[in-house]
Symmetry: D3
Subunit: 248 residues, 6 copies
Amino acid sequence: MQLHLSTWPEVETYLQSSTGIIIPIGSTEQHGPTGLIGTDAICAEAIAQGVGEETGALVAPTINVGMALHHLGFPGSISLRPSTLIQVILDSLTSLARAGFTHFYLINGHGGNIATVKAAFAELYYQLEILNISQASRVRCQLDNWFMARSVYQLAKELYGDQEGSHATPSEVALTQFVYPQSIKHAPLAPNVAKGYGIYGATQFRQSYPDGRMGSNPALATPEHGQRFYEAAVQEMSENYRRFLQEN
Amino acid sequence: MQLHLSTWPEVETYLQSSTGIIIPIGSTEQHGPTGLIGTDAICAEAIAQGVGEETGALVAPTINVGMALHHLGFPGSISLRPSTLIQVILDSLTSLARAGFTHFYLINGHGGNIATVKAAFAELYYQLEILNISQASRVRCQLDNWFMARSVYQLAKELYGDQEGSHATPSEVALTQFVYPQSIKHAPLAPNVAKGYGIYGATQFRQSYPDGRMGSNPALATPEHGQRFYEAAVQEMSENYRRFLQEN
Amino acid sequence: MQLHLSTWPEVETYLQSSTGIIIPIGSTEQHGPTGLIGTDAICAEAIAQGVGEETGALVAPTINVGMALHHLGFPGSISLRPSTLIQVILDSLTSLARAGFTHFYLINGHGGNIATVKAAFAELYYQLEILNISQASRVRCQLDNWFMARSVYQLAKELYGDQEGSHATPSEVALTQFVYPQSIKHAPLAPNVAKGYGIYGATQFRQSYPDGRMGSNPALATPEHGQRFYEAAVQEMSENYRRFLQEN
Amino acid sequence: MQLHLSTWPEVETYLQSSTGIIIPIGSTEQHGPTGLIGTDAICAEAIAQGVGEETGALVAPTINVGMALHHLGFPGSISLRPSTLIQVILDSLTSLARAGFTHFYLINGHGGNIATVKAAFAELYYQLEILNISQASRVRCQLDNWFMARSVYQLAKELYGDQEGSHATPSEVALTQFVYPQSIKHAPLAPNVAKGYGIYGATQFRQSYPDGRMGSNPALATPEHGQRFYEAAVQEMSENYRRFLQEN
Amino acid sequence: MQLHLSTWPEVETYLQSSTGIIIPIGSTEQHGPTGLIGTDAICAEAIAQGVGEETGALVAPTINVGMALHHLGFPGSISLRPSTLIQVILDSLTSLARAGFTHFYLINGHGGNIATVKAAFAELYYQLEILNISQASRVRCQLDNWFMARSVYQLAKELYGDQEGSHATPSEVALTQFVYPQSIKHAPLAPNVAKGYGIYGATQFRQSYPDGRMGSNPALATPEHGQRFYEAAVQEMSENYRRFLQEN
Amino acid sequence: MQLHLSTWPEVETYLQSSTGIIIPIGSTEQHGPTGLIGTDAICAEAIAQGVGEETGALVAPTINVGMALHHLGFPGSISLRPSTLIQVILDSLTSLARAGFTHFYLINGHGGNIATVKAAFAELYYQLEILNISQASRVRCQLDNWFMARSVYQLAKELYGDQEGSHATPSEVALTQFVYPQSIKHAPLAPNVAKGYGIYGATQFRQSYPDGRMGSNPALATPEHGQRFYEAAVQEMSENYRRFLQEN
């Protein structure tokens, strides 16, 4: 059940049986010469819809711009500052919490979001309590990264070994190929991909990783792999979501 | 050309021939008993993609949560505060401006966004200039509301007359039916729909407009109407976009 | 009854018969070679006092610096950023709302304020409700632009036709001449005044409108015209205010 | 020379001979049973105009709402939060500094503003330098409280002794009587006025000072006294301003 | 009793007999060629611990970075912007107020903090009241500058006369020598120390005061003097604290 | 070399040979019935000083209040909101970066700080670049948690096994006992310590972990253990710091 395709009376009815909601969060940032700029949002959204179908959970619209300041050296990347993203999450989850939602399960497609989102959760609990929002102390948030799900991680290791890398990875590219087979891109990929550098500012990132990849070989990706990642992630995260709903 | 389905080298190439970009902005808010909560984002996104195809413009991901504080009395609505939305627009457009984009054309699906977006534009020009961002003084932003396009407005009058109303209108519902025919909703609609009240806070709004509609009869909507609205909007706004690119 | 010329016990008494208040809002910005920098504040303040006398309403001090970022290319202009002006309005109206005021009628002298003020109203309703301020849901705000009042607009068309223009207009200059006859300015005005350009940042504005006027011929203004504008605005806006007080 | 009664070319000319500007800052807050709510703004504005005439300095519009949070327990009081007032001062002075003004002389009518304004000055210098605003390192700000001018202070002691008190004082009331003789208020004043309590929040302030006065007897004020205060303040602060302009 | 060396049950017990707390606040900024960068924090912390021992009061951790923007021209200085420091104080004191503390006594070692801290107090009272924090109206804050204590001031005059100066003073240097005798520094001090200039931005400050001292001769300081300052300050401020606790 | 015990000329000299600096960051929060409220700051500070001695690095004053919102249900805890802590880090590191420091090594004592500090780093790089701060693109930040150092972790496992737990752990208590042997606390500890619950808001945290411990048995701690933890951490983190300085 997708929020943007539902009516408010349907949401009202839903709240009678569940106060949980799934929120996909991605990013709009370069993913190397062949990866889609929307990769992280596409992956999070697709999996969130899959988990929503599997569990009957309501799925909110995707937060498709996240914290990607270090990718701003590549054209097409868009980022919020962490302090802005915190406010976006506070406002959005407060809207839902006041309507009765208590369990917020964020399916995340981008490592760069993790720190900011966790900071936002802490500020949310505080804000809800200090404002005396009804049921504030019952609110629970969880961030779950699809690419760190155990089954996904193992599959990536099995299929790609060291060539999985850590950005513009074949696993995420494969998943976007499964979702958007008409948008599979081809471009020459230098065999000696940069890896092992730290991640600091945008200038340093582009200097260290000149084509945007971090140790990855996305040429290994196929839509069939993408389907396997999708299925693994949906199954594992559906279980995670069901378990999360038990948190009281 | 959609940004989230492009690679950064493709964007780099695009910038050589155009520095314009289209950004759809909608809202996630109640649209009466039968309107989809994502109506405003769905409409803006569909039209933006149409304009993108028509003009060859790059289309950014949709800002799908906007300024809908007055709808928060209905479950499922999500809103940013205006001061948060201003920061979102500042951060996002600054990301793109630093990469070389100069013309930002926002296709808007929600009247409640207008004031905040215009305020954000003013703050953006200022911020870019005071930060000495390269080409700051060449940046131009325009907000265009699809539902106020002349051809759209006339078609709505012709098809629905006074029953068009001003929220959860048959025209926007029709457009969502065209885009998502599998999500057409049915629910009893009281014949005496509320209208004519002001819009203030969330409590007042729900008291004044108890089922969420403002003077509208969305039961008149059909997917075929939706297609006509879509085509009219795409054509008119494509011309608007081309004209906007001439603004120097 | 002017707030700054009243005592707190007088305000306490006033609140027993009315919870409405008028707040003039202007701007401090260039108005062409002959227009006063305080034009927008002067006009809003004078009319607000007139409406106050006509209706017995309390009139707050004028917000004399507004949103004029695009005028900052001309010396003497002062502007708040939209995000600052939103906080000013939030703080000010919250002060009054906690004391029992419920109806805030802003008489506006500057088009550039409109978007930001409307954004602020939305944030105010939200803030009052989420903070559980007493009577929050009864608060109503309205922004009324004196220069868009029907009788004013018609008079301007009748007196000046196309030479009214849209900034540093003869109508607003006339009104300031009526209020401050000792400050009537003379300067050569090029006959070919710039017009028709968009309004973006400060650099672009000054390039497009080098003497600060937008299509206007303020040389047509006279103090007598100013009096007619004043009287028309006071009468029409007094009616508007009375009607606004009925909004519940 | 008053900014709001000047044109931008007049300001351009003024800047060729002086880069100093006077900014009156007051407050909108209760001043006891007979003091005007606008007392602090009225006093600052009148003296600023006097100093402007005496020295030929440009005088900006009055900041008429300041930091008066502790007076919010009395109806009619309006206050900004310190963090808002800081932004107002940053934005306003940055506007002027970018146009070439370097010396900002604030004539203050309200003790409650002092801390916040001084904090804002510090933040302003920093902001101008970090933004690389032209001439940033030459900007100088000074806050001068008219009621603490030596000649004023001595006159108040001479005329009122201990009955001067520290809020709603006869000296400031006298000055408003001189400026607005038609707005002299009369009300019974309890002989045992509260005094000696600290100033904390709004609730405490009203409990400690139930009629709003702090140890003062404003019944002693006369318009003639007001004129003497006015003249003393204008003379002394004109000298202060001239000296301040020498600060390089 | 020091907070950082206590357990929460000990704090819970403490609150049963007292709701007062002492918070030292200093700065991290240059103090001339021989003064320690931590001087202000060291002095405030040492005296706060002394007062804590004398009065049995709980002493919070030291706020060791304050408002020192004008010292940023000298390496090693660290400063918060005033608007940041206000938030630090709001968050910290709100944490404690919600736990039951009502009397906050800040022992300050740095003149540059005064304005910002006082602004923060005003905002705190307001925030606690508007958020309906329990006991909000009973909260009292006081800022006490050790270097302005009468006994300290007199001792400094007696020992150093005009060579006390106003920054990097022998009195504060002496106190740090008493606390950290192993960190006594020696460096040549030009006999003609700069004095009498205003304090504006960082660039101006360093130009006016090239070695960081303001009219002082810290070579006069000795650890024995430091002990006398310490004892005078502890005694006087202990009395101040006890008196402050009586404020209701 | 400790910053607060240094003079600015010493820092100037230091910068000629190194642009690295160590910043300890802790927290002020409950640590169970026997743990010190300052535990996290004490540990971070002690280890930072040790690493400073070992490597010759400059050590900044400790950030002793961090992100501990979830501990606010226990008296004595103090926390910044994440959005405040981000500003503190931005301001502090910007101060140092403008003076020439490029490598910021934060030694962290509190898990709750991690997300916010990492978010702040990202925002810092961005802010420095967008403000065109000299050497902005060379700035590098690293957060290193002493309790997660491999040698520390292994020692804790070896000494305490499962009774290490995850808050108010014997390892951190031991370290504070080594640093402050005079502040070793004794209190009855229930054998059945709570564990395994999530961490959400303050109310939930106290309900889940009623005495503040999370699965730990701090009664196992001894000062001798503390010394071993100290030495292991100092050695490992000194190597980490040296390696970090190589990051270019």
